[in-house]
């Protein structure tokens, strides 16, 4: 209950502050956000786009952990947890792509530019799309769980490369790319004022709580389905 109430309040506050706090050339009050040259109002997207991208990484790595557990213990619940995490990861990955594309339209002129970061997230979407194709293609439950667990581990190994390495070693438009005047480093080094940082980290925490809640709901639903199937089996 505490998790749900904290999440509800925190994300509502983050949305109000992230969208509603006014921008100012010379911030005088705690609620005024500084104007970042070249970004202006578009800078607000960082409070929502980065947490969704971050959570897709967390979800994919969670999926990998449960896949390893499945291969060691052969517990169907671990397979359920792994697929639930991968499903949420794919959802957050799509959200990060959409929010990024909208930002790109207003900052770079078009929704899609085949920037290294856009290309790497597109490849990730294909990799995890293939994961669900694989799951739906195999009918035997044990075989499906084993194959998808092995695939999930290999897929998750590519995630840090596509999210953290490739976009930083190649030149691109995205902040944090090689050749960026602010340096090829974490996007967090983006010129954020202390109040922007508070909103940003509160947003990361709120989105993480949302992921935990949605993950629990998905696993509990799957567990109930499994129990019902067991009861109905002859």
């Amino acid at each position: 209950m505490a998790l749900r109430v904290t999440l509800g309040i925190l994300l509502t506050l983050v949305l109000c502050a992230g969208i509603g706090f006014p921008l100012s050339q010379n911030p005088q009050h705690w609620y005024e956000l500084p104007v970042i040259p070249g970004l202006e109002e578009k800078a607000r997207l960082i409070f929502f786009h980065v947490p969704t991208a971050w959570l897709s990484v967390v979800a994919f790595l969670t999926g990998m952990v449960f896949s390893i557990r499945y291969l060691r213990k052969r517990d169907p619940l671990d397979d359920l947890r792994s697929s639930a995490a991968a499903g949420l990861g794919l959802t957050y990955c799509i959200l990060a792509t959409l929010t990024g594309a909208i930002w790109a339209k207003f900052n770079w002129g078009s929704f899609w530019n085949w920037d290294p970061r856009e290309t790497s997230i597109f490849v990730l979407l294909l990799i995890y799309g293939a994961y669900f194709s694989l799951r739906s293609a195999v009918e035997n439950q044990e075989k499906r769980s084993t194959l998808s667990a092995a695939y999930s581990i290999i897929a998750a190994i590519t995630v840090p490369f596509f999210i953290f390495v490739l976009p930083r070693i190649t030149s691109g438009l995205h902040p944090g790319s090689k050749g960026d005047p602010d340096g090829a480093g974490p996007v967090l080094q983006f010129t954020m004022s202390p109040n922007m940082r508070v909103i940003f980290f509160a947003s990361l925490a709120a989105f993480t709580l949302l992921f935990i809640w949605m993950f629990q709901l998905r696993v509990r639903t799957g567990k109930l389905e499994m129990e019902r199937e067991l009861q109905q089996a002859p």
């Binding site: 749900r4 999440l7 509800g8 994300l11 509502t12 949305l15 109000c16 969208i19 509603g20 006014p22 109002e41 809640w213 949605m214 709901l217 509990r220 639903t221 109930l224 129990e227």
Partner: protein, 43 residues
């Protein structure tokens, strides 16, 4: 129209908060229903 032009940021904020509260309410109800089903399954 002048009102919309003047307070567009707050209108966007209200719409986004309303969508979030809708999602929250949906998840909250789903959680309660799941708990009821789990109790039924155990009992």
């Amino acid at each position: 129209m002048e009102f919309l032009g003047h307070y567009q940021l707050y209108i966007v904020m209200l719409i986004v908060v309303a969508i979030w509260l809708g999602i929250y309410w949906y998840l909250f109800r789903l959680d309660r229903r799941l708990r009821a089903l789990e109790r039924k399954q155990q009992g």
